[in-house]
Structure formats: C-alpha cells, structure tokens
C-alpha cells in the first residue's frame, strides 16, 4: 500500500518534474513532445466577386507580370488556356477545407478562418448566404454555422503573420489567436492569386516566400507547433515553399555535418566524393539532401535533429497555373479550383476514424516528369542517383484516388502537378494518417479513474524509465503547465487536500459501514435530545 500513499505520489511527481522536464525541453521539443492538439489556419486572400484588377487601359496583363521587384520573368498566367481568375472559387476552396477539418473533428475555436470577402452575402450571388463548390448545388459549404475569425480587410499580410507568430495586440481576443503549443499539429491552407514566390493579398499586398519562411521559423523557435502542413492552392504554389526550406535547414550546418560524416566514418566511397562540389552546392544542398537520407542513416540522423516537422504541398509547380475546376453557369463564376476540388472529393469519402494516410510512398515521391529533371540535376551526386533508380516506382498516383491523399492528385485531372516536399519532415508518410492534420484525433490513454489524484494504476511506477513514449504519456497525464515553477506550491496544497480525502476514504473502506451508520444515528438522537433540553 505504500505506493498508494498520496504524499509519496506528490513527492515523486515533483521529483519527476525536476528531473525530466528540463531535458525534455532542452532536447528539441519539436519531436520529443507528443501531438495532443490540432489547429487549422485557413486563408482566402483574394477579394471581390470577380477579379477586377485596376491597371492602365490598353495593357492586357495578368497580375503576375504586374508585380514589382523580381517577379518579372514569370508570365505563366498568360498561358493559352485561359485562367479564370475569379474569386468566388477561392472562398469556396477555403470553405471546403473548413468544412472538412470541422467534420473531421477540429473544433471551431481551433480553426482560424480568414476570408477576404463575403461572397455568400455578395449581392451578385444567386444563392444568398450559400456557397457551393459544385454546379449541382448539393453541398452548401457555408453551412449553418461558419465562424469567420478574420474577414474582409482584416485579412492582411500583417494579420496573417501575427496569427502565425502569435504577436498580437493585447486587445485581440483569444478566438482570433493561434494558441498552439509544441504539441500541436497545424494545417495551414492558403489560396488566392499567386506567382513565383508570392501570394497576393487583397489586391494590394503580397506575401512572399521569405515572409512565410520567416514566420515558420519564428513559430519553430517559439515552439508553436510540432508538425505543420502547409497546403497552398495557387498558381506556382510550389515556389512559396522555397525559402521555408532553406531558412529552416541552415545549409551551412548541414554541409559541415555532412562533410564530417563523410570523412569520418560512413562511406568508403566518400574519399572519391569531391568535397568541393559539396561546398559548391551551397544553399541548394539542403534540397538535394532529402533524397539521400533514406540511403544514409547518418543523414537521417542529421535531418531528424534538424527536422522542424514541416510538410508542404502545393497545387502547382513553378511555371504552372492552378486551374479552376468548372464554371457554374447559374452563378456565373467558376466555383472551385481543381486541387481543392479533388482534395474535398477525397475527404468527403472519409470519416473521423479513417486510416487514410498522406501518401502511399514513404519518400519524397514525385510524378515522373519532374523526377527526370531532378535526376538529371543530381547526376553528379552518385549516391542520390542510385537511390532514385532504386526507389521510385512507376505509377505514382492512385487511379481510384482513395486511401492516400497525396496520391489522389492526378496531374491529368489537376492540369498541374501537385508538388509536395517532405524535406523537413521525418515521419514516413504512409504511417501518417490524414487525420493527424485534417482532423483532431488524439491517441487516447486509458486510465482507471477519471481523476488521477484518487487512484493511479500501479503500472505507472514502471513507466518512469526514460523511454520516449512513456515520458510523453506521463506528460499528457499531468497537467500541461507542470513544468512551470510557480505551480509547485499549488500542487502541494492539492496534495494535502487529497490526503484528507484519501484518509476519509480509507476509513470508510476499513470500518464496517453499518456500524458507522448506527453510531452516527445514535449520536444524532443524542444531540437532538440535548439541544431540545437546552432550549426548554
């Protein structure tokens, strides 16, 4: 019975805190802490019923080449196939994702929904207060209760960055903040008009890939997420992630690590590996590293140490457009983008308990056209080349499109190449269920009692061994703020109170209840007679 002694438990818990919390925090909490909540940030950045960009008369241009600075060379939006740039579909896109994550279990208070314009109540909308993503008008995405956190002109780059980094004005209510922690899985979905390394906000601003990278890095350093899935549906979406990668990977460090490993222990062939070429790789080294880590366990080690847990998927590669799926001739605008349309189609088949995973293949698999290009570029790096030849299977996407989200994107139906990169992500994708980002499904731990202060299963004693999983379990069972010093005093008070309770409980358990009842009844009668006597 000694283990049941509450004071002992309290002391033990404190001890545990002191011993384990420090190393836990220190040891890159990104992957050590456990996933225990889900957040979603859904952003629609474009305004107006139909896009009317202001410009000079007589110059037909797409906004892609209107943009300042260094976006001049890309002219992709002027392709032969007319891109329908009308913004109803962006709202429909965002609401599709909103509907999905809400249906799969993320509550409204953990969804930050940013809609740049209110299409549902736009007077040009044939169907007031309804938004459809399909011509058949079966699925009203606006639903009965949509909680829009940022709307209209509140959707700015500044507010977006504030939401991600958590630097708000004190007056901003909690419902408008992303209150995630180091155990959060965050889905960041963005749609709008974009181009090479930027996303346009509200016709007046743009979010550049540098900004996004900076925000993600800040989030990482502030332990605001455990894993982050960035999903972007716009023209040239893949370019938006370029800077995220290089900012998080710190190529210099990686290069040094790589050189050390190569020289010291791993590859006999590394002697022949020209170190200068590795140096020349420079910042782009990190891009190629990913293809090698499956081959070299040491690389994997580095990556896991560095890995920020960021996974990114975009609807189109550089130089490609993101096309709308179809035009609703009733409403008179195109209603949804292809990428999101097929995403929603994928999720509509699933429920909360589905085991569908992100991808069928564990490694960064890309459709074969892009693969060939990569392979050509990597040809001088022999190890990467052979890795490719070994690993990449032929048919990469699911024809039926069920079971694996990333494989459900068929470039032929998408008319663009859905591009994802998992350079910064260490878990094998086939083992990651889609619900770990799009839903809110926790790993539950069964405990005997609802409240741990009363009874703790004896097994816990054995779980204080420094195995990772057990540590996490314990941390979950404790209250999340335990590691803070200020909480220790209150904890002790709690313990004393528990002691009394438990004492009473033990008494009840040990003595005969009926005897106690008799004694009590007798005492009551005695007290009654005395009181009446005193009163008279």
């Amino acid at each position: 019975m000694a283990t049941r002694d509450p004071s002992m438990i309290c002391c033990f818990r404190l001890l545990f805190l002191l011993l384990f919390s420090v190393p836990l925090i220190a040891s890159s909490s990104s992957w050590a802490s456990m996933h225990h909540n889900n957040w979603a940030v859904l952003v629609c950045t474009s305004r107006y019923w139909s896009d009317s960009e202001s410009g000079y008369p007589g110059f037909k241009f797409s906004f892609c080449n209107k943009l300042p600075r260094y976006h001049i060379e890309i002219n992709s939006c002027n392709s032969k196939l007319e891109v329908e740039r009308f913004n109803y579909r962006h709202m429909a896109n965002t609401l599709s994702l909103y509907r999905t994550v809400k249906r799969l279990g993320i509550p409204d208070e953990r969804i930050i929904l940013m809609l740049a314009d209110d299409m549902a109540c736009n007077m040009r909308n044939n169907y007031p207060a309804q938004v459809f993503n399909n011509e058949n008008h079966q699925l009203n995405l606006y639903g009965d209760n949509v909680e829009v956190d940022y709307r209209g002109y509140e959707v700015t780059v500044e507010n977006f960055m504030r939401v991600l980094t958590g630097r708000h004005d004190p007056a901003v209510p909690r419902s408008k903040r992303l209150l995630s922690d180091e155990g959060s899985h965050i889905l960041l979905y963005m749609t709008g008009h974009g181009g090479d390394e930027f996303l346009k906000f509200q016709d007046s601003e743009e979010l550049q890939s540098h900004d996004l990278a900076d925000a993600v890095k800040q989030m990482k350093e502030k332990n605001r997420f455990k894993e982050l899935l960035i999903m972007v549906d716009t023209c040239q979406a893949a370019t938006l992630f370029n800077q995220v990668l290089s900012s998080l990977m710190k190529p210099k460090n990686i290069r040094n690590h790589l050189l050390n490993i190569l020289e010291a222990e791993l590859l006999p062939s590394a002697v022949s590996f020209p170190s200068t070429s590795v140096l020349d790789f420079g910042s782009s080294m990190s891009q190629y590293l990913v293809y090698g880590y499956g081959f070299l366990p040491a690389f994997k080690h580095i990556l896991i140490l560095q890995s920020p847990g960021v996974l990114a998927i975009g609807s189109s590669m550089k130089g490609e457009n993101s096309y709308s799926h179809h035009l609703d001739s009733d409403i008179g605008v195109s209603v949804v983008d292809r990428f999101t349309y097929y995403t929603l189609a994928f999720f509509e088949k699933l429920n909360m308990y589905s085991n569908a995973s992100l991808s069928r293949y564990g490694t960064s698999s890309m459709p074969s056209e892009t693969l060939g290009r990569k392979r050509a570029r990597l040809h001088d790096c022999t190890m990467c080349g052979c890795y490719y030849k070994r690993q990449i299977p032929q048919g990469l996407w699911d024809v039926g499109g069920h079971g694996h989200l990333f494989n459900s994107y068929n470039p032929r139906t998408l008319m663009s190449t859905a591009y994802y990169r998992m350079d910064l992500y260490q878990r094998p994708l086939p083992e990651v269920p889609v619900t770990s980002f799009f839903g809110s499904v926790m790993k539950t731990i069964h405990t005997d009692a609802a409240y741990m202060g009363l009874s703790i299963p004896p097994k816990t004693e054995a779980q204080f061994l420094p195995g990772d999983g057990e540590n996490q379990q314990l941390r979950i069972e404790n209250e999340p703020d335990l590691e803070k010093d200020g909480n220790k005093q209150t904890k002790e008070l709690h313990c004393i109170y528990h002691e009394w309770l438990n004492l009473l409980q033990e008494r009840f358990e040990n003595t005969d209840a009926e005897l106690l009842f008799r004694y009590g009844f007798g005492t009551m009668v005695f007290l009654l007679t005395i009181s009446t006597w005193l009163l008279s």
Binding site: S50, S52, S54, P57, G58, F86, M123, L327, S329
Partner: protein
C-alpha cells in the same frame, strides 16, 4: 591645373554635346524641303495603312465575364414582350393621344412590382449661344414665351431597386419610340425593353439598380434622353415656375384621364433617382430586311468624337457573335466599299504583307484585300462620325455625363409579323441584353480597363490611340521645322533690326485670327435678325465676314505693316501647328482630317508672282497651290465631299448655313476648329499666294 583642365574638358564636352543637338536641328532645318516631303508622305501612307495595323479586340476587364452565366431570358419573357407589343398597337391605334403609351407602360411597370413615374418636359430648340460650347447646361428659365400644351412629352420610367444592393449604381435601359406615329418595330422594341425589365425585377443577382426609360422620341430621341438626364443629374426645385406651368398644362390637356391620375396620385410625377450610372444601353428594333441572319448594329460615337469604353462594345460584340449568333455591323461608308482605288490599294497591300510574312513569319501584318477594303470603309465612317462631333444616337447624351453608353440596333432576318421569326428574334435579343447587363452588373468600378480613344475598323478590330497618333505626329512634324527654316533664312539675309520683324508678321496673323473669331460669333447676331431662309442667312454671313476681312486689310495697309511673305508664312505655320496640336487633343479625327488638308497647303504655299527657274516648275507650283487652296476652303471641301460621296440634289448656299447650324447646335468642336484654325490659316495662305512682292526680300 588638373582641376581646371578637367573643367575645361567637361565644358568642352558639354559644348560639343549641345552642339550635336543643335547641329542635328540645323541639319533638319537646312534640309527642310526634303524633310517635309518625306514626313508628309510618310504620315499619309501610315494613315492609309491604319486598317492593316488594327488589332483584334479583347475583353480587358476581367470582372465582366460575358457569357459565363446562362441567360434566364426564356419563352415566358417572350410572351410578355408579345403581350405588351399587341397592347401598344391596339391602344395606340385606338387613341392617338401622345400619353396613352406612357400610361400603358406605367401600368405594366407597376404590375411587375417596380417603382415607376412619369417624366415630362417641354422640348426646346437648341439655339446657338457663343458661350455654350463644351457646356451641356442650358438655361432652365429660357422658356418659350407661350408653350403650347400639345408639345409636352411624357416618358414612363421604371426603377428596379437591387434587392441586396446598396443602391449606389444603376444600369440604364432606354427604348425610344415615337408616340405620335408608333411603328411596329417601336412596339417590338418596347416589348423587348419591358420583358427584360420584368425579368430583372425578379432575379437575385442584381448589384446595381435598373432604370428603364421608355423615351418618347416625338421631337427626337436625343432631346428626350438628354432632358431626362439633365433632370436626373440636376437639382429639381419644386417651386420652379416651369414645373407649375407644366403640371397645369398637362392636367388641363388630359382632363379625360383626370380620375386615373387621381387614383395614381401626384406621386407619379415625382422624379425618382437611383445611383450613379454605370452604363446605358439604348435598344432599338429596325424592321429592315437582312440577308442571312438577324443582325445587330452598334452605334457608339458621342459628341466631339468621344467614345464609350471599348469593353462595352466588346461584350456586346462577344455575346452577339459567340452566344446568340447575330451578325454584328458597325457603320461604314459605302463609297470606300465600292471605290476601285481602295480595292487596288488593298491588293497591293496584300502582296506586300504576304511578302513581309515570308521574310519574317513573326510579323503579324496579314490582311486580305477584302478585309482592307472593309476596314477602310469602316475606319472612314468611324473617323467621319468622330470628326463631325455629332452623336450618332441618343447614347451621346449619356456621354455628356461620362456614362458609357451604346445604341444596339437590332434588325431581324425577315418580317417580324411572322410569329416564329419574332419569338426567335426576341429570344436572341433579350438574352443578349440580359448578358450585357449581367456583365456590367459584375463590375465594381466604372469601365476603366480598356480604351476610350480608338477607331473601329471592324466590329472586332480597333486602332488605338497609340497607333493612330503616330501618322498624325509625322504629318505635323515638318511644320515647326519649315517655320524655323523660313525664319532663319529670312533673319540671316536681313539687317540688324530684322530680328524683331517677326512681331509685325505675328500682328498680321493675330488680326486675321481675331477676324475669324468675330466671324465665328456672327451667327449669334444674325439669328436676331428677321432673315427668312437659310440661304439668306448664309449669304448675309458671308457678306459680313468679307466686309470685316476687307476692313482688317485696310487697317493693315493703313498702318503700313509689311514684313515679307516668308516671315508671315513662318508665323502662320507656327499658329497652324499649335492649333492642330490643340485640336488633336480635343477631337483627334477633326485634327487628322484638317491636317491632311492644311499641312500640304501651308508647306507649299508661295506667292504666285515669285520668280522661279523653269516654266514647268512654276506651273506645277501654281497649279498645286491653287488646287490646295480650293480644296482646303471649308465650303469647297464640303461640296467636293458631297459630290464625291454621291449625295444627290442641287447645291444651295443655304446648305452651308444648315451645316454650320448642325455643328453648333451639337456643340461640336469642329465648328470652332473650322473657324478659329482652319479658316484663318486658309486666308493667310491666300494672302501669301497673292502677295504683291517679288523675290524673297521684303519691300519695306
């Protein structure tokens, strides 16, 4: 020392650089004859090439999205249209009163559930007033002394408020009809207007209000629409005298329908407004037989060469051609379609362009002879109507308020009396108009993306301002060069005080311009006189103008101003160049046509008595001078154009008066151009041609 040297070299560099510019200028001036010949030829050739340089139109504003929504105009609306058409024809036949149709329309509008009111006004003749150019406001107090009650005009107006809109903007539909003599096509156009109105009264996508004006065009549709617009934009004061007169007169006139008015209440005359106008469509049906298909004619020219935004024409054209299968026509001058020299030119250009394409396949100048002929005819009509400065329809009234408007004139394939033909025709036109309205409804801003300055060479081809300014620029470029050449040559040869002699020439030019200005204002005085016919007005005008001119010359001679023809020509050319440049900003087409006449005349003119070597050269110079002087005289030019383009009828001097009357009554800037720039230039040229002196040196 080094610093000084550097300074020296830099100074030298500067000197040499500025010298280079000067030298280039001097080179141009020295070869002014060659330059002017080359520039004039290039300018005229480039102008002729404009149909080749035309681009295809495209819809510039993304938000318009024409044709992306399915039209909701169905056979139900066609039935509505038919019902109203029949009603109008029956009732119009029964009662000849002018207000019967307006009442009927109001009943229909009220039945649909829209707001409605009557707009009434007294038409006034547009009088010449020298201070009223470029200002469309006329005095409201300028009433006719005793307006006869029969001259009132009553328009029915309906307003649909957008159910979820903010009421800040409207789209205006206008259907003109003649209440006195209602034709079948008038009734059909009213039917179309009403059927669209009734359709729009129950759609859910309206973001702008819809105003339907059924304009009684008994005294001209422009007058009606213009007066309605004036009331729409101007403040209305209830105590205004004219209104009281109107009311009294109106009710007195229609005592038989007094009870009807009582039922409706006087509210029905309260002028109601919606938001600012985003666009306006004038619908017309013309019952002239087309060969193959139902067709749509688009008229867009407003006063002084103003055009609606090209996007408005584009959506109408796109929907008509690609959705409803109509044939789209815009005006063209038949003379150019038939002229053999145009055809020959077209064939030559076709050969040249095919050759050019063989040299470089990237060049996109590819035109067939037929295309060129059609393009030229259409371009000529486009330039003609813009240069005239008179709107081609009631859409011109909207342009005065910066509202983009076009007239869409539909004509059916065969007679509308046929039931099937009519319903198919109504369905097409209704869907087209609905599509245009829905596109405009999508807009958030005014039309601004596409061009406002353009010529059309086909319904789907345009020449933008960036292209057509180049020929004009080349054409007038030699004017300053020749002026400088004349000035410098004269200055070099004369004595010291010659540098100020140009002031005397400027005085002459100024006096002649002053005379021209007085001449332009003469009609205001003449109109006060009781002269009967236009021909007497015209002859009086000419006589007085010539008298004034003689007086001016007497003044000039008496003050013994003489300066030599070269200086005079130089100053005149400068004045002409300035005038043409200014005019090209106000109304480009006028300036272009004017420049083609004036520039050669100004460059070539020389005193007839001037001695030149060779009889042949002299004869050539004389004849060309004479010919240009005749052609550039405005009345002569008008006569030549009239005979050339096959207008029948004998020529009367009164025609010029009527022609001038048209120009000033429409506030056309062409009138001002003709009298302030063209006429003085011509007079000065004549002066130089008849210059008494011999040789280049001045007599004084």
């Amino acid at each position: 020392m080094a610093v000084k040297e550097e300074g020296d070299t830099s100074q030298q560099g500067k000197k040499s650089r500025s010298r280079l510019i000067l030298r280039l200028g001097a080179l141009l001036v020295a070869h002014s004859g060659l330059v002017s010949v080359v520039c004039c030829a290039a300018g005229i050739i480039a102008f002729i090439l404009l149909p080749v340089l035309a681009n295809n139109t495209y819809i510039s504003e993304n938000a318009l999205m024409p044709g992306s929504a399915d039209p909701a105009f169905s056979s139900q609306e066609v039935l509505d249209a038919n019902r109203l058409t029949m009603d109008i024809l029956n009732r119009g036949a029964a009662k000849a009163s002018g207000i019967e149709i307006a009442k009927l329309l109001r009943e229909y509008i009220v039945a649909v559930g829209a707001e409605s009111y009557y707009h009434k006004f007294v038409p006034r003749a547009n009088k010449f007033h020298p201070l009223h150019f470029f200002s469309s406001t006329t005095d409201n107090l300028d009433l006719p002394a005793n307006p006869s009650c029969g001259s009132f005009i009553l328009n029915a107006v309906g307003i649909i408020r957008a159910p979820r809109g903010d009421g800040k903007e409207t789209i205006v539909l206008v259907t003109p009809y003649n209440s006195q003599n209602t034709t079948y096509s008038d009734a059909v156009s009213l039917g179309i207007g009403f059927s669209i109105f009734s359709l729009l009264s129950h759609v859910t996508w309206l973001a702008k209000d819809i105003v339907w004006l059924a304009a009684d065009s008994r005294y001209g549709e422009y007058t009606t629409v213009d007066s309605w617009l004036k009331d729409y934009h101007g403040p209305a004061f209830p105590g205004e005298t004219s209104r009281i007169v109107d009311d009294a007169c109106f009710e007195e006139n229609n005592s038989d329908s007094l009870d009807h008015i009582k039922v409706e209440g006087h509210n029905s005359y309260v002028y109601k407004r919606a938001g600012t106008m985003a666009a306006a469509l004038v619908l017309k049906v013309v019952d002239k037989k087309e060969e193959e298909r139902d067709s749509l004619s688009i008229y867009a020219e407003a006063s002084n060469g103003q055009m609606p935004n090209l996007d408005l024409i584009n959506i109408a054209h796109y929907l008509a051609v690609h959705r409803q299968g109509l044939r789209v026509k815009i005006g063209s001058i038949i003379y150019f379609l038939k002229a053999s020299w145009v055809k020959l030119l077209g064939e030559m250009l076709q050969h040249i362009t095919t050759l050019a394409k063989r040299l470089n396949p990237k060049w996109k100048f590819d035109i067939t002879s037929a295309d060129y002929v059609e393009g030229t005819a259409t371009l000529a009509s486009s330039i003609y109507y813009q240069a005239l400065g008179v709107p081609t329809g009631s859409h011109g009234a909207f342009r005065n308020y910066q509202v983009d408007a076009v007239t869409l004139e539909f004509s059916p394939r065969s007679s509308l009396n046929n039931e099937n033909v009519r319903s198919a025709f109504l369905l097409k036109t209704g869907r087209l108009i609905e599509g245009v309205i829905r596109s405009v409804n999508n807009l958030l801003e005014k039309f601004h993306q596409s061009f406002f300055l353009y010529f059309l060479t086909a319904p789907h081809k345009y020449v933008s301002v960036g292209i057509y300014m180049i020929p004009f620029g080349i054409l007038i470029a030699p004017l300053p060069i020749v002026a400088a050449a004349l000035f410098s040559s004269n200055n070099g040869s004369s004595n010291k005080d010659g540098s100020w002699k140009w002031l005397q020439a400027a005085k002459v030019v100024f006096l002649i311009h002053l005379w021209a200005m007085i001449t332009s204002l003469l009609p205001y005085v003449l109109l006060q006189l009781p002269l009967g016919t236009p021909s007497s007005f015209a002859s009086a005008w000419a006589a007085v103008a010539i008298c004034f001119l003689l007086i001016t010359y007497l003044i000039l001679w008496s003050s013994s101003i003489d300066c030599g023809w070269e200086l005079l020509k130089s100053v005149m050319i400068v004045a002409a160049a300035i005038g043409l440049s200014l005019m090209s900003v106000i109304n480009f087409s006028t300036a272009q046509i004017g420049a083609m006449l004036i520039v050669p005349m100004c460059l070539l003119v020389k005193p007839a008595r001037k001695q030149t070597q060779g009889v042949f050269a002299k004869a050539l110079m004389l004849t060309s001078n004479l010919a240009l002087l005749v052609v550039a005289f405005p009345p002569a030019a008008l006569l030549i154009a009239k005979t050339l383009f096959g207008a029948s009828g004998n020529i009367d001097i009164g025609d010029f008066w009527e022609w001038a009357q048209i120009l000033w009554s429409w506030n056309s800037a062409t009138y001002m151009y003709l009298l302030w720039i063209h006429l003085p230039c011509w007079v000065l040229c004549l002066n130089i041609f008849l210059y008494p002196c011999i040789g280049s040196s001045s007599k004084a």
